[in-house]
Every structure is written in structure tokens, then in C-alpha cells.
């Protein structure tokens, strides 16, 4: 019993992990008295959530599938190669039209006499830097989804 107390005092006195591990291995793991003062596996299980208590895994899949679906390749269509080719052709034609329209717009705005100052700046929040006490500070910007509110939190860099 005295030896157990000595080991405990040593454990508390020297917070070095290798030393503590050594004490655990040479004494605490083997000593019945010390083991009684540790939580058993059954006691721990009664406090923790087990995998069979978390509910239905299918519900998890429903939640994940939407995102996972973007990663998975689309299933190959059988016997509709002609229709697929037409779809590709239509999409390609549309992309070409959009690209040509974009080029035409760029050409118009890049012409002589164009006044860059006439462009209204985009409505966006910008912050170049923040100083606290004359020093560059750690800055966090929070923008709650669906609102126009922006929170800026700055604190001294530790």
C-alpha cells in the first residue's frame, strides 16, 4: 500500500509522459490495488455512447449521399448513345455562344474612351489589415449565412 502511494506521488510529481508510462507499466498495470482505482471497461462503456446506440446508419447515408453523389460518376446510359451525342452537341453549341457573347462584350468595353471609373464597385466587404495597439492583429471575419451582417473580431496576436 505504501509502495502504491509512493508511485502515485512520483506520478504526480513528474509530469513527464515517458516516466509516467514507465510507472504505469512497471506497477500500476499489474497492481490489483491500483487497478481498483481505475475505471473498468464495463464502467466506461456505461458512460460512453456505443455504435449500436447512435441510430440508423441508413439515415446517415441519406444525409451524406447528396454530397457523395457529386463525387460518384454518373451511371453509364445504355442504348442512348445517339441522344447523349445530341445533348453534348447542344451543350457545346450553347457554351460556344456564351463564349462568343463574352468576347464581344469584352471587346466593346475595352474600346477607346472607356472610363474605368464609371464602373460601380461591387458591394462586398473588404478589410486590408487591422492593428491592435499599433501591432498587426489576428482578425476573424464571420458572415452568418443568409444575412447581410458581418462580424469582425480582432485580437492581439499572442
Amino acid at each position: 500500500m505504501d509502495f502504491c502511494r509512493t508511485v502515485e506521488r512520483l506520478y504526480a510529481a513528474l509530469p513527464l509522459r515517458p516516466f509516467r508510462d514507465w510507472l504505469i507499466r512497471i506497477h500500476m498495470d499489474r497492481c490489483p490495488r491500483c487497478q481498483e482505482r481505475l475505471l473498468s471497461r464495463e464502467e466506461a462503456r456505461s458512460l460512453l455512447v456505443r455504435s449500436d446506440q447512435t441510430g440508423d446508419a441508413a439515415a446517415l447515408w441519406r444525409r451524406i449521399s447528396e454530397e457523395a453523389g457529386r463525387l460518384a460518376p454518373a451511371p453509364k446510359a445504355k442504348g442512348n448513345g445517339g441522344r447523349l451525342a445530341w445533348q453534348w452537341a447542344a451543350v457545346s453549341a450553347l457554351a460556344a455562344v456564351v463564349a462568343l457573347a463574352g468576347l464581344w462584350l469584352l471587346r466593346e468595353t475595352a474600346g477607346p474612351g472607356f472610363d474605368a471609373r464609371a464602373i460601380v464597385p461591387a458591394d462586398r466587404f473588404e478589410i486590408a489589415y487591422v492593428k491592435v495597439g499599433g501591432e498587426p492583429a489576428q482578425t476573424f471575419v464571420y458572415h452568418p449565412q443568409g444575412t447581410d451582417t458581418v462580424f469582425v473580431w480582432a485580437q492581439k496576436t499572442p
Binding site: D21, R37, E43, L48, A59
Partner: protein, 182 residues
């Protein structure tokens, strides 16, 4: 479908294999996240992020290692990220002195679903200690297995586990008031 078939299917981008993986390991990942974070909704977010990362990076999985341990390593890291995010926001909201509105997510919560939360006693443990205790008690992991998940040495993992078991036992023996809440 066994583990290797599921992995091969996921590598091939098969949705059925992705589903099989979530249905095989989903509750395991969710239980670990729940024990580390202590909040069902955040644990479900962590679970989702974990599987999405697994699907994206499955090609980096080393077949020499246990898949379960690799998966739990990702879940543990995502859980730590979530805790850091929550702590940062808690600090921010404490300083800003405002009450964040609780926004319900319709469809997420089903009153019929079991939504157990870990004991309040676990709050005295650090996230590493909670993870070590959870893996040891629920999964039967040894200190060496735990060290792979926590990315530390086996001796460090042993100390985390020992401290966790000792702290909780001391609280139980002292008939801590938190027991009634647990």
C-alpha cells in the same frame, strides 16, 4: 460485401459501395465523434465530413494498415477541428456579447431517433483522453492502436488512457453531483 470489396467499389466511384461503407462504419464514426464532441448535430457534421474525405482520399489509404483505424484517425481529426471551431466561436460570442439564435434544421431531428449524449462526467477529460477512453472501452483498442489514431507514441496514449480512467473513477467514487445529470 466485405471490407475489401467496399474499398475497391469506392475507389471505382460506385455509389452502392459508398453507401455500403457508410452503413458499415457510419455508426462507429458517429459514436466516436459523439463521445469526443458531446453534441449530436456536430457529431453528424463530423461524420459527414469524415466520409466525404474518405471518398476523396481513399487512394491514399495504405492497405498495410487497418482500414478502421485509418477511418477513425480521420474522424478524430475532424472532431478536433470541430471543437476548435466551436471554441473559437464561443470566445467570439462571449466577447461580442450577443446571443446566437438557435436555428432548427427541419428534417434533421426525428423525435423517434435515439439521440443519446455522453455522460457529463466526460467533460472533465481532454479530447485526447476521451478518444483514448472511447477506443479502449468500445472498440477494445490497445495503447498501440490508440496511438495510431491520436498520432502519438504508444506510451503517450497509455498515459492519456490511464489519466482518463483515473479521473472518471475518482469522480464516481466521490459521488460527484454530475452523476445525476449523466
Amino acid at each position: 460485401m466485405d471490407e475489401q470489396e467496399i474499398i475497391e467499389g469506392c475507389l471505382g466511384g460506385k455509389a452502392a459501395s459508398n453507401r455500403a461503407m457508410v452503413e458499415t462504419y457510419g455508426t462507429l464514426v458517429l459514436s466516436v465523434a459523439l463521445n469526443v464532441i458531446g453534441n449530436r448535430q456536430d457529431a453528424e457534421d463530423v461524420c459527414q465530413e469524415t466520409f466525404l474525405q474518405v471518398f476523396r482520399r481513399l487512394d491514399r489509404y495504405d492497405r498495410e494498415r487497418s482500414f478502421k483505424t485509418w477511418l477513425l484517425t480521420i474522424a478524430y481529426r475532424r472532431s478536433l477541428d470541430m471543437l476548435r471551431k466551436k471554441r473559437r466561436f464561443a470566445e467570439f460570442s462571449a466577447r461580442a456579447r450577443f446571443e446566437p439564435a438557435v436555428v432548427g434544421r427541419p428534417g434533421d431531428a426525428d423525435p423517434a431517433d435515439p439521440a443519446p449524449l455522453p455522460s457529463k462526467l466526460l467533460e472533465v477529460l481532454s479530447p485526447r483522453e476521451r478518444t483514448a477512453l472511447c477506443l479502449w472501452a468500445n472498440e477494445g483498442y490497445t495503447a498501440k492502436d490508440i496511438s495510431e489514431v491520436l498520432a502519438c507514441s504508444a506510451s503517450t496514449a497509455r498515459v492519456y488512457l490511464f489519466n482518463a480512467r483515473r479521473k472518471i473513477k475518482a469522480l464516481l467514487e466521490n459521488d460527484h453531483g454530475l452523476l445525476q445529470n449523466g
